[in-house]
Each structure stands twice: as C-alpha cells, then as structure tokens.
C-alpha cells in the first residue's frame, strides 16, 4: 500500500498530510483576529466568500511562530474547511506503508496528539500529521 502525501515544512521539519484531504494550497492572505480564541487559531480568512478558520501549525506543534508570510494548506475536516498555516510547500510524495513507524515514546505529548507517525525517507524523516487532530 502506498499513500500520496502533500508535504510542507515547519521550521526544519518535513511534514505531510494525505493528498485526498487537501482542497488546495494558497499563499497566505489577510486574516481577521479572533480575540480570546485558543493560541493556535490564527484567525479567519475569506476564501471566495467562505469564512474559513486558520490554524497556525507552528503554534499547534508548540514551535515559535513565524513572522514571514506563510502558505495556507486548505483541508477538509469533517464538514468544515480549515486552512493550515505552514512555512513552505514541498512536493507531493508517494510513500509506502513499510516506511511507516509509530511515533517514538520520547515525543512530547503536544506533538504526539497531532502526529500519527513518521515515514522514513532515504534522506530524512517525514512526519505524518493527523489532520483532524491538528485542526480541532
């Protein structure tokens, strides 16, 4: 079994989410802040008339936020559409189930909650993100 993943980077990490959960990838755009919202909520964006929640993945994973322009990966989570803020978009990679390994015990709880496991690529590790957990 192989899976296609849309990959992107967060700081120096390479992450991926299944391609069939991704609606589109867009450059970041103006967001409306939501006061009192949880930390990782970056705000609301207008996506062709639809109001979409934007989640800052860096904050979600407990990394320092990036001030630069970020990219938006728009994903489906249940009936909702959510945009995830990431640093840079990478390629769509095809990975094999045999490359997969559950997250190591030493992983912090915060990360463990949103990471399904890792794919061992030849040159580096690819974190498989649990989209539903990351966006909610």
């Amino acid at each position: 079994m192989t899976t296609q993943l849309v990959t992107f980077t967060l700081a120096d990490r390479l992450c991926g989410i299944p391609v069939d959960q991704v609606q589109e990838v867009l450059p970041g755009r103006a967001r409306t802040n939501v006061p009192l919202a949880p930390d990782d909520v970056a705000g609301l964006v207008n996506l062709r008339g639809q109001v979409v929640l934007s989640v800052d993945l860096r904050r979600r994973l407990g990394m320092p936020p990036l001030e630069d322009d970020q990219m938006m990966v728009v994903v489906f989570v249940g009936d909702e559409t959510v945009s995830l803020l990431v640093d840079r978009i990478g390629d769509v990679l095809t990975v094999d189930d045999e490359q997969f390994e559950a997250p190591p015990q030493t992983l912090s709880d915060q990360l463990r909650a949103v990471i399904r496991g890792t794919y061992k690529l030849s040159d580096r590790l690819l974190l498989a993100l649990d989209v539903d957990a990351a966006a909610s």
Partner: protein
C-alpha cells in the same frame, strides 16, 4: 427500482401532510360533528391512503386504513354520530398510520402489527352497530346504479351534494343485514348515489337489491380525490429544500459582491459605473427578498398540531381547554419554523398543564370552566412575535422567588432585592420547576431553560408576563431569517465587529464626556437620561487595546439593557451570516462571522452570551453588596452613594439604590399629607430626606434628584438636594449615633457622612411598604429588633 422509490417517497410526503390535516380536521369535527365538508375531507384522506397503499403493496397499511375508512363511512352516512370513543379511536388511527409511514420511510416496509388497531376500531363499530357484526357497509346502497349504468353521462356531472339525502342509507342498513357477507368493494357507496340521484330522483331508497357493480365505485372516488388534489396544487410546485438552501447561499454571495462593487463604485467618478452598480444593487436586493420568500412558511404549519396536543392533554388532565389561534398566516423562514416547533409545543403543553386550572377551581374563581389557550403571531420590528397565553391562575412571583431559594439557585437576600419581572425570569434558570408535582406531562426535566436556549440559539428571545389570577403570557421573539440580517459595524482595537441590529437601541457618542462614566463597585455605569446603564467595554471583554474615539452602543439582550463601549461606529449594512467553526463558537462571544464589502472577515458579536457572561458577574457583585447591607456593617467595606440633604451629607448603601432620576419639581403632587411622584405611569410615594432628617436648606429648584428604592415590586422615591459621589465605606470607621432616620456616621472621602437608615426612610414614605414582603416570607430585610412589630403589622395587613 428508483422510480418505485420515488413514488413511495412522494406517497410518504403527501400522506404526512394529509395526516397533519387529518389531526386538525378530526379535532374540528369533534366540536362541529355535523360538518359534512370536514367529514368528506377526512374520508377522502383515509381513502387516498388506502388506495395508494394497496397499489404500492403495503398490505398492513391498507388493512388498517380500510377499517378506518369503513368507520368513517358510517359517520358520513349518518349511522353513527361523532362521539368521544369514535374521536379517540380515529385519532389513534392517525397515530398508527403515522407509525407505519415512519416505518416505511425508514425502509422497513409496513411491517407493523396492526391487529390491535383493527380490533379497536371493530370494537367501536360493534359498540353501536348493535350486535350486527361490523356491518361492512351496505354495498347494496348504490344499487340504483344499475339504472345509472344504462345511462352513463350522469357520472360526469357528479358530486354536487354527494350525500344530500341520508334516508336511503338508513334504509340500506336494514337491507344490508341479509347481505352481511358483502365484500370489501362495498365501501364506496356515496360517490355513487349522487349521480343516480340526479338523473333518477324517482328512485330513492332501496330500489333494487341488485348486487352492486363492484368495481365501478373505486375509480370514481379516486377521480374525485384527484381533482381535489389538483385544485389545491394548482399554481404551486414542490421544490427540494436543499435546492432552496443552495439558492439562498448563492444569493448571499451575490449580496457580498454587490456590497463590494458598491464600495468600488463609490470611489469612482465614472457615472456609468455608478449607475450600473445601483442597478445591480437593486436587483440583488429584490432577488434576495424573493429567494427569502420562497423559504417562508406560515407558522400555521407548526400550529396545526397544537389543537391535537391541547385536546389530548386537557382530556388526560380532566380539564376543559379551548385553543384559539390568530395570525397563523404570519410567515417565518423554514429553518426557524423547525427550530420553533419544540419550544412552542412545550409552552403550549405547559400552559395547559400548569397554566389552566381545574374546572372546579376556575368556577370557584369566577371564571368560565373552559380555559382558553391563545396563540398569537405577528410582525414587530422586523421580528416575528409569537405569544402563548392562557387565562389560568398566573404565576406568583413571590412563590417563584421562594422556590429559587429552596432550590439554592438564589439566596433569600438576592430574591428580596429582585423586581417582579426579575423574579419571573428565574423560571428560565436551569434546574427550576415550580410544578408542585411531577406529572407525566411536564416536569420531565425539560424546563424553560431549554426553551430559552433553543430560542436564543436562533437569535431570538423569550420572556414571560403573568398576572396572578388572570393568566400568563409567554412571548417569543424570532428573527425573520437567519441568513441575512441588518447589522451595525463597529471597530474595536483596530478590528471590525458586527452588532445585530435587532439588539441595538441607540448610539451615544462619548466624545469629551468620558468623565460621565461612573463606577458602581468595579462596574462602570453611564447615566443615560437619568437611568444608570451598565457598561461593557468591548476592548476589555475581548482583551484588546481601546482606541480614542469612543461610542456607547446601547443594546438590549437577554432582557437586559446595557451599553457596549466601542471605538468607532462604521456603518449599518446587510450582512450575510456565516457559521463559524465550533471551536470559536465555544468562546461564547461570537454568533458567527460575515464577509464585509472590502472582503475582510468580521465577527458577529453574540450579545446575549456576552451579557450573560459579563453582566451576571456584576449583578452578583451588587447582590453581595446587598447582603452586606443586610448584615448592617458586619462586612469591612461597602459601596455608598453619597447625597446631599440640605446642608447634611448622607450615605445610602448602593445596594438599596435601584435608580437615580432627575425629575421636574412640578411632577410632585400632594395626596393627603403625603407627596407622590408620577413616575412611569405609576405613583411613587416620595420622602424628602432633608425634611426627614431635619436638615437646614430646602429644595427650591425646579428640578430635583431622586433615589428610587424598589423591593418586591413596590417602589418609593427619596428626594435629595444633590447626588455627590459613589464611594467605598470602611465599616470600621463608623460610629453609632442616635438620631431620627440615621444609623450612624462614617468618614467618607475625609468628610463625616451620616448613614441613612434606609428602612425607616422608606417607611416614612410608605408606612406599609414592608408588610407584603414580610408577609410573603421575604422578611430578610427586617431588623431583628422590630421583628415583632413587623409581625403585628403583617397580621394587621392580613386582616
């Protein structure tokens, strides 16, 4: 197969509608048993279901509708009158039919045990039809058909008075006896006699006992139903609701683009662009209105079930209740109608169960033994108001207060400080139920709090008014539609927010008058035309930096009026409401979001939720202050209102102050030895503090400040020379003095200030003020010292 499914689906939709109608018709028929048109309509409905179910192969459904039909035809033929057992069994039949339809809808076929229902109907039939078995309608009746058959035309001109003459039927009964074994098809006699009657009036009654043409009647009846249905359906079509929802969404998008283009056109010089933009704007508005109208349904759709609800319930409770409905053609958006259904049913049941009294008690109270529940719907201020009133016993606010105390929802002191509407509002608290006993009707844990939550979730509100002995009115206010609404856009901390217009009362620019924001405890207040308006700083609530220009948006939400301080007011515009992620809903500040003309997203404030979160904390603070007031200085500090009375300075515990007003002196009138003040349509007893305390320097001015004190629905006014300040009082620094109307003195802002004995001041204005309260068991205000005196007074009052 798909085609079949579609047919079944249509059958279900139609049958459900018909059954709703049936409920209504049956209840109506019960009160007007002679109505032929109702009976025909009922008969037709059941007949249609029977016919179609046979065609679709639902055997059980056919069986049960068939037996129901034969009972109905007895009614129609005048062999039986509409009595209660008949009505009961027919209503039960409707329920059974519904149950079967539900089963079919769920894909389970019509595999429901219908035997009990069939037996029940048969039993009712046997009950009056003498021993003579179910007498499956006298097929022979139509016999004359034989004659008609010879001359086919008459069939074409049918129906005029289908059953104008019952005689033939009664006679038929006797005839029927011998042909007892006559089989099913016999059921449709009536459509037939009509045609025969026309061409051959000379053949009334049991002309020939010829065996009827068995197959003929069925199609005739069917045809009649068909034409009828078509009449009703002419000029309208069924449209899938999803399609309407999609259309509505797209119109929403169009409105957004329209707003955007409006904004762009506004910045251009080009006249042509401007004209086009205007035109687009007009068309978009009309289209929006049109699409919204397609989704509107008269509230009758929901009401139609209520007569049945009231009938069943009042019967089971042994009460006689009539339901009256006005304004049933008031229209509401479909989705809202759906959301209103349950709260409405609950309130109607509640009115019958808790509102209307038993017939004996009603008679004892001098009322008609029949109670009336009234449903009223009308438009008001862009909202639909739905009222559910009963003429029952009403709700006693004092009892509500006691219950709240018993249940630990409020303390006795808090309750004592509440006005009547506030007490009634306690009914909406979770965990509240005044029902003396739990019946199987209400008191099942679904309380008014659920009603309120449901109504508020669709942006509406609900409140209650009641007069003891005269009845209770529950009032729901519901927005016309959820999708698009007018809203005020404001900025706060550099971000734009939308405030729904329905909540908005007025705008007050603060400008240089920042100083006019005063504080009661930690809570900021604003004197709006003399009335203290609690304020909420939006920036503070949302944790933002406030800007410079400041405006108060005066709003009313959750039955409370308060001011929201924002930085700037932008615009009034139609906004399209977009749902927000559930994560953001949980914050409890936002009702949704919208896209503005410039493409930015703005959050819509949920004022109800904000009011509840922010204001209750302050109310609790005030209530705490009041408890301290009651404890008479046992606490360390409390808020004091400092007023001038002549040359003296007097402090009044702030918790005892309901309102500060500035009034014109000519509104004070003399009644006997007392002065009263015309105030909000009532007369308020007035006491002048300077005279009470024997201070020097009267009040000669045209205007004077009064402090209004309210407890348990009664109020008095204390006139003062000036209102000085609100300060914290340290109880340690008080000293007791013995003087008329004073409790002692204290040092406030480095000036000696006397503490007003509120109780004696109130009694100076209205000696009977505390009697009712004490008698009502809310005597927490009384000092231990004069408890005996009070007791005596209340006894006197009781006598």
């Amino acid at each position: 197969m798909d085609e079949m499914d579609e047919i079944v689906h249509e059958f279900l939709v139609e049958s459900y509608e018909n059954l709703d109608q049936l409920d209504q018709d049956l209840v109506a028929l019960e009160s007007d048993p002679s109505s032929r048109s109702l009976l025909s309509s009922i008969f037709r409905t059941v007949h249609t279901i029977k016919g179609t179910s046979g065609f679709l192969g639902f055997g059980n459904l056919e069986r049960v509708s068939h037996i129901g039909e034969s009972l109905l035809s007895e009614l129609r033929d005048g062999k039986r009158s509409m009595d209660q057992p008949t009505a009961d069994v027919l209503l039960a039949l409707v329920d059974t039919l519904r149950e079967i339809l539900a089963k079919i809808e769920a894909g389970g076929g019509d595999d429901v045990d219908v035997a009990p229902m069939v037996e029940r109907i048969a039993a009712v039939q046997a009950g009056t039809a003498e021993a003579a078995a179910p007498a499956p309608e006298p097929a022979p009746a139509p016999e004359p058909v034989a004659e008609a058959a010879a001359e086919p035309e008459p069939v074409a001109e049918p129906e005029a008075e289908p059953a104008a003459e019952p005689e033939p039927v009664t006679t038929v009964e006797t005839v029927a006896e011998p042909t007892q074994s006559a089989p099913e098809p016999a059921v449709e006699p009536t459509p037939e006699p009509a045609p025969t009657a026309q061409p051959a009036p000379s053949t009334p009654g049991p002309g020939g006992a010829a065996p009827a043409v068995p197959s003929a009647p069925e199609p005739v009846a069917e045809a009649a139903v068909e034409t009828h249905a078509r009449n009703a359906a002419d000029g309208s079509i069924r449209v899938d609701v999803d399609l309407l929802d999609t259309l509505m969404r797209q119109v929403g998008e169009l409105v957004l683009v329209r707003n955007q283009i409006d904004r762009i056109a506004g910045t251009r010089e080009d006249q042509e662009t401007k004209r086009s933009a205007q035109r687009l704007s007009l068309i978009a508005s009309e289209l929006q209105e049109g699409v919204m109208r397609t989704r509107m349904q008269p509230i009758e759709h929901v009401w139609s079930k209520m007569p049945r609800v009231v009938r069943d319930l009042s019967r089971s409770l042994g009460r006689d209740v009539r339901i009256e409905m006005t304004g049933g053609d008031t229209e509401l958006d479909r989705s809202l109608l759906e959301a209103v259904k349950d709260p409405l049913t609950h309130l109607v049941r509640n009115a019958v169960d808790h509102g209307i009294e038993d017939p004996e008690r009603r008679r004892a109270a001098g009322k008609s033994s029949q109670g009336v529940v009234t449903l009223r719907a009308y438009h008001s201020n862009g909202q639909v108001v739905v009222e559910i009133s009963d003429d029952g016993a009403g709700i006693d606010p004092a009892r509500v207060g006691r219950t709240a105390v018993d249940k630990g929802l409020r303390t006795a002191a808090e309750v004592a400080a509440m006005s009547e509407p506030e007490l009634l509002d306690l009914l909406f608290m979770a965990g509240f139920s005044t029902a003396a006993k739990v019946t199987n009707v209400s008191g099942r844990g679904v309380g008014m709090d659920v009603v309120r939550t449901n109504i508020e979730s669709i942006g509406g509100s609900v409140d209650v008014e009641s007069r003891v002995g005269a009845g209770t009115t529950w009032r729901m206010r519901i927005p016309l539609t959820l999708a698009i609404m007018p809203a005020l856009t404001v900025t706060c901390g550099g971000t734009v927010y939308a405030i729904p217009q329905v909540s908005l009362l007025e705008l007050v620019a603060l400008g240089d008058q920042q100083g006019r924001i005063e504080h009661v405890g930690s809570a900021p207040v604003f004197r709006l035309r003399g009335v203290l308006l609690p304020l909420i700083s939006l920036a503070e609530v949302l944790g933002l930096e406030p800007g410079d220009d400041r405006v108060i948006a005066v709003v009313e939400a959750d039955d409370q009026r308060f001011g929201v301080i924002v930085d700037r007011v932008l615009n009034m515009e139609e906004i399209v409401v977009k749902a927000i992620a559930s994560r953001l809903k949980q914050i409890g500040m936002y009702a949704g979001a919208t896209v503005l003309g410039d493409g930015k997203v703005a959050l819509i404030l949920d004022l109800q939720a904000i009011a509840r979160r922010v204001l209750t904390a302050d109310a609790a603070g005030l209530a705490r202050a009041h408890v301290r007031d009651v404890a008479q200085g046992a606490g360390t500090t409390e808020q004091m209102l400092v007023v001038g009375a002549g040359d003296r300075r007097v402090a009044i515990p702030l918790a005892a102050v309901t309102r500060l007003e500035r009034i014109r002196a000519d509104r004070i009138e003399q009644v006997g030895a007392r002065e009263v003040l015309q105030y909000r349509g009532a007369l308020l007893p007035l006491v002048r503090l300077d005279q009470l305390l024997g201070a020097v320097g009267g009040m000669a001015s045209d205007e004077l400040d009064v402090v209004v004190y309210t407890r348990g629905g009664r109020s008095i006014a204390m006139a003062v020379t000036e209102i000085v300040d609100i300060v914290e009082d340290d109880a340690q620094r008080r000293s007791d003095i013995d003087d008329q109307g004073l409790l002692g003195s204290t040092v406030l802002k480095d000036r000696v200030t006397e503490l007003l004995d509120v109780r004696s001041a109130v009694q100076a204005a209205d000696p009977g003020f505390f009697d009712d309260l004490d008698a009502g068991g809310l005597g927490e205000l009384s000092d231990p010292d004069d408890a005996t005196a009070d007791h005596g007074a209340s006894l006197a009052g009781a006598r």
